[in-house]
Symmetry: C2
Subunit: 326 residues, 2 copies
Amino acid sequence: MTVTIYDVAREAKVSMATVSRVLNGTAVVKEETKKRVLDAIALLGYRPNAVARGLASKRTRTIGVIVPDVSAAFVAEVVRGIEDIATMYEYHIILTNSDAQVEREVDLIGTMWEKQVDGIIYLTNALLPEHVAAFESAQIPVVLCATEDPERRIPSVNIDNRQAGRDAGRYLLDKGCRRLAFVSIPGGQSVVADRRWHGVQGCEGNTPFVRIAVPDGRYHTALPLVREALTAHGIDGIVADSDELGLASIHAVQDSGGQVPADVKVIAFDNTRMAEMVRPEMTVIAQPMYDFGAVSMRLLTKLLKDEPVENYSVTLLHNIVERQST
Amino acid sequence: MTVTIYDVAREAKVSMATVSRVLNGTAVVKEETKKRVLDAIALLGYRPNAVARGLASKRTRTIGVIVPDVSAAFVAEVVRGIEDIATMYEYHIILTNSDAQVEREVDLIGTMWEKQVDGIIYLTNALLPEHVAAFESAQIPVVLCATEDPERRIPSVNIDNRQAGRDAGRYLLDKGCRRLAFVSIPGGQSVVADRRWHGVQGCEGNTPFVRIAVPDGRYHTALPLVREALTAHGIDGIVADSDELGLASIHAVQDSGGQVPADVKVIAFDNTRMAEMVRPEMTVIAQPMYDFGAVSMRLLTKLLKDEPVENYSVTLLHNIVERQST
DNA sequence: CTGTTAGCGCCTTCAG
DNA sequence: CTGAAGGCGCTAACAG
């Protein structure tokens, strides 16, 4: 019932090695016999067994993708980028969610190793020694995507988060804001968020800044927290760490009787589809989400082919898209 | 360098067969020797090779997931549901995007077959004979997810779209609407959308209905189209086929100088996170997105274990979440 | 240019 | 309860 390479060989009256050759282009095969093989393949409806192939060649052409949560808009966009480029290079992806739980993440690296993936693309909030250790013991090429390795030991693709934070802050100051707030998950949980926060603070020496910490980073949690901060600190400019938090900020201002952008200006990170579907449309620090994925995957293919890589830690460009919230 | 089952066997002074047994629980092993094996495994840091295992057992414990586009909020949520349950049953998922292109979809079914996936979960707009033929030739268990098979030949998980359309329409009529519009991609492209449209029309015998066709189903495309329809037909109630189209409808009304819900009421399908983060918050026909994925995957595990299945075409419940847009 | 021969790492009878 | 032996379907030298 399952047709194997042997069946094809017999049908084409050649050896299985020859079939393998035309299948993989491993060596030159005479035009005529090649045609016989191809005909036999078509006739029998033969499909090479990727598992057997993986066992024999020790390369599975599948790469593991570990993310906190695909259902987050940002992540989903990144995954799309990864998958598109993977397809282009004839790879498949095994997708797993870690919920950013360290234990689960380390465990996943282990299962990816069992699955014999050729490489891993990794997204998380904070890279810990445990992760690095797991990568090393698994001996699999890894590319960090939108996650920072403070020590730059592992290939990665990022934007310059510190600079982006600075750009956001300066942008608001240029617009006339005097008291800025940064809304994100609490400090110490995300290297990326903390970098941005430092950037925001660095945009101008003597401006008062407050950081509004939203435990889960979600809209409904943020709403009351931003509202409180608003009245407590007389804020007139907000940098939000995500579109979701940006929207919460805008609504918090409105709920407090203020106007956006007249009284308070809001700029948010990400630029997911939502940013231009809400009113006022949100000004954002656009992140190249799709490219995070695409470039990471491209970098990984180079690593896998031992191609020369000019830069192991790629920095993508961010840019401000000015809309109605500022 | 790679430690195999043989290394473990030697270390534990047993045969590889015994190691395999304690690994898989295939047969009873004496407590004592079992401990020796476990110790050896820990000592050597042994990890079973899933590829070799797959070749020998003919089961890979991976399932193929074919979706139009993960970066769509609805799909991402479904995928999350699939992955969670897959993890629970110790399966992994290979994720691929088809962009709803028939050719690519059929091709993907083929590659999934090459990858020896144990099963497939499939999302698309319209199930064609080509798909069914591909499934049959691949001989792999398939579950359709949020995808209707008019002839119900293939196991599937859906809501009752016709009824949901009817519910949406009736809901608006009960709220006093007199002229309804249904906004979606053009007819004939999606079985699901067409079902809902029929449902909307069926909610009341003699009410005028118009269908507003948005070629790509996107926000920016919809905006002007809905605006035109609004002035042309005096519409006072809109059923949108997705949250994105719902938002576009709301904004189209506002741009025409109208108020939502005072002048025009809007109810949308889906209930993605966005629905409750916009203003006015959107009333929706909530779809159990996560459950679509979770239930599909659960059903697939039953199929794979030849467990008895009481119902091959599962119908999940939808429900109206009343918010501010109606 | 083509055929032969070993494995890849594991599961799974079949004996004992 | 445990060991030996034969594949699973394919790749990759090595001959010819």
